[in-house]
């Protein structure tokens, strides 16, 4: 039972990390209609910005600021220089251009920082454990990641649902030309949304820095998972991205945790371990397939 609680927490934490990425991607995809494959690069920029700033200054708080600034600024530049030209183009152009951006950013980081992975330590204040229930020590850092994820989810919901800018974003996604005709600078709004999405991706990147490896190509590893989540959740829906992320986080973690013992009931040793490993790695894709059969437009489709 204690193990189950711990594994569920692990799943929740993975889900909330994916959510930060998925939120930005679903906003950009849903509102501006742009498939941004370079979203993972912004995740990498956030992690590199934070790791380099923290190493230079010795302060992880400045590191966070550095990572957020780097990713938001990169997002802004990418929108102004490239993505702005893609809004009216076919998805194929968007995929080509943003795939090119992935190669560009990977090459740029290799040139500027080098190919060796970077050191990014857990902040000292968050490096211990908390005994959440007797007998279950849980890493403080992971709890902090969950807290940030939940706060951002709440903040985004308030921003989209309760503020004037949020209202304009929603309106812009439904009828771009009408909003523009009402005198709203829709171009500026899009730049804002794209930079915000970039900053969220950067936040995810800098938060996983101490957990994973800060290296070139770290964004591509999470990109597929992120697309999976927004497809499950319904493209353009923040709520869908949230539910989808938690669902995928839980299914993935619990699958890896419990499938091997389940297989051991009717198979032996290595065969069970190998088969369970294979199945648990495709489990999330099975979930996506099932969701799409039942609800072809995702769990929370945005009405058009």
């Amino acid at each position: 039972m204690e193990l189950f609680i711990e594994q569920s927490l692990n799943g929740l934490q993975l889900g909330l990390t994916i959510f930060l990425l998925a939120a930005g991607l679903t906003l950009v995809f849903g509102i501006m209609g742009v498939i941004n494959l370079a979203h993972g690069s912004l995740f990498m920029v956030g992690a590199y910005g934070a790791a380099l700033t923290a190493a230079k200054t010795g302060s992880w708080i400045l590191g966070i600021a550095g990572g957020l600034a780097a990713s938001a600024l990169t997002g802004f530049l990418v929108e102004v220089a490239i993505v702005r030209r893609l809004y009216h183009r076919d998805h194929l152009y968007q995929v080509l251009a943003t795939f090119g951006l992935i190669l560009f950013f990977n090459g740029l980081v290799a040139l500027l920082v080098g190919r060796a992975p970077l050191l990014m330590e857990t902040p000292k204040a968050l490096s211990g454990f908390v005994e959440i229930l007797p007998g279950i020590p849980y890493p403080t850092y992971r709890l902090a990641v969950m807290a940030v994820g939940l706060t951002v989810a709440l903040g985004l919901w308030l921003f989209i649902a309760r503020t004037r800018t949020g209202m304009l974003i929603r309106a812009g996604s439904t009828n771009r030309s009408m909003v523009a005709a009402l005198g709203v600078d829709i171009g500026r709004l899009y730049t804002l949304v794209f930079s915000l999405g970039a900053m969220l991706a950067g936040l995810a990147g800098l938060m996983v820095g101490p957990i994973r490896s800060v290296q070139i190509g770290m964004g591509e590893q999470v990109l597929i998972l992120t697309f999976l989540v927004i497809v499950i959740g319904g493209i353009g829906s923040i709520r869908g991205a949230f539910v989808g992320s938690i669902l995928i986080g839980l299914v993935d973690t619990l699958g890896r945790a419990y499938l091997p013992s389940l297989f051991k009931v009717f198979l032996t040793g290595s065969i069970a371990d190998g088969l369970a490993g294979t199945l648990s790695s495709i489990l999330i894709y099975l979930v996506m397939a099932v969701v799409l059969v039942v609800r072809p437009r995702g769990l929370f489709p945005v009405s058009e």
């Binding site: 290799a110 050191l119 857990t122 994973r212 490896s213 290296q215 490993g277």
Partner: protein, 386 residues
């Protein structure tokens, strides 16, 4: 006056053409892009360092090293090899890091009567009955990495272990290799997925299984993530961990920081080996590239040295028989110390226990503890008839 200038120019041209005729071209196909790009970068730089030490020569023969990036794609590697063979007329090859690339590239080179000297990948299919007289491996037969880790676990007296590896061929080979010399109890084998970066589920499970020690094979970024999460989960203070060399190289240790301290690995080379050849190499590498040498750099360097020794004996000729006789003598001091080729032209060498410790300046250093295996060959050599 004009006549004199012309004859000088003519003489210079003549010198250049004779020099070019004696020059040996080496096709170096390696992985420079992708997250694993630092492996190929180090192998290339180690190889070039040996060439530079002799002023552009190996064993007295002028060489030209032509480097291309295989991007970790077997098809790209094959294409580069074909180009090297056909347009550049290259006969001598090296550089490949990954076994899947080697699997696609090496047969084509050998069919075209080329010579391949591997500085890293040593997959089993080319070590047994399909071994080849023109195929040399200077690094290891892949299984050695895990066999030596298994031997270390046995030496340390672990009885109940959990073994983890990614769910693909090299991961399964790792676990098989480890078990070959470990011989103790295995509570569970856990197969992770190849793109996995979060291991919290596996670690919670390990906590509940309570093993003496864990063996995990996750090279590169996955390995860094594993070490960080292992330390964060608090398991590092309770359960010992043994890994193979690719899961604890100098770059991984530097990127994992304190999370790496106390982890043990096995390797055939370490930066602190006290022999003269290694001291010169480590200092030379630092001076030229301004960074610490890695195991991949040492392998690139040793490969160049072995090729150099062979070229010296043949006077720069790549004639199959003479080159092979000279190559198999391995008459040169390598950075790793004792080395000879086994019957399948794969290494017979010593394996050492390496431990990550905190250095005086606060960084993580890899320290050699002692020998684990002596004159260790591989399990496939007996099937090779050369």
């Amino acid at each position: 006056m004009i006549f004199k200038a012309l004859t000088t120019a003519g003489a210079a041209l003549l010198v250049m053409t004779t020099a070019a005729a004696a020059q040996v071209k080496i096709g170096f196909i390696t992985t420079l892009s992708t997250p694993a790009g630092y492996l190929g970068e180090d192998a290339r730089d180690g190889f070039n360092l040996a060439v530079d030490e002799e002023g552009g020569k190996l064993g007295g023969t002028p060489v030209q090293v032509i480097v291309e990036d295989d991007k970790l794609r077997p098809a790209d590697g094959k294409q580069i090899a074909d180009k090297f063979l056909q347009s550049d007329k290259i006969k001598l090859f090296s550089g490949i890091i990954f076994s899947n690339v080697a699997g696609a590239v090496v047969p084509g080179i050998l069919e075209a009567d080329g010579i391949y000297v591997s500085p890293n990948a040593g997959p089993s299919p080319f070590a047994g009955k399909d071994c080849n007289a023109n195929y040399y491996v200077t690094s290891w037969q892949n299984d050695n990495l895990h066999e030596s880790a298994g031997a270390l676990a046995k030496k340390l007296g672990y009885k109940n272990m959990v073994l983890l590896a990614p769910n693909y061929q090299a991961g399964k080979d790792a676990i098989t290799g480890f078990r070959r010399l470990y011989g103790g109890g295995v509570i569970e084998e856990i197969y992770t997925s190849l793109d996995q970066t979060d291991f919290s589920a596996e670690m919670a499970k390990i906590r509940s299984l309570k093993p003496d020690a864990v063996f995990q094979f996750h090279p590169g970024g996955q390995g860094i993530a594993f070490l960080k999460q292992w330390a964060q989960s608090g398991l590092k203070d309770q359960i010992a961990m043994v890994v193979a060399a690719p899961s604890l190289d100098q770059r991984i240790a530097a990127a994992a920081g304190d999370a790496a301290i106390g982890i043990r690995a096995t390797a055939h080379w370490n930066v602190d080996f006290p022999n003269e050849a290694n001291k010169a190499f480590v200092a030379g590498f630092r001076k030229k590239y301004n960074r610490e040498a890695t195991i991949y750099a040492s392998q690139g360097y040793d490969t160049a040295k072995l090729i150099g020794a062979a070229l010296k004996a043949t006077g720069g000729k790549l004639d199959d028989k003479a080159f092979r006789t000279a190559m198999l003598k391995a008459d040169v001091k390598l950075t790793r110390g004792a080395f000879k080729f086994g019957p399948n032209q794969h290494p017979i060498q010593d394996w050492y226990e390496i431990k990550a410790v905190k250095a005086a300046d606060g960084s993580v250093a890899l320290e050699t503890v002692g020998k684990v295996l002596e004159n260790h060959g591989d399990a496939y050599a007996k099937d090779c008839k050369l």
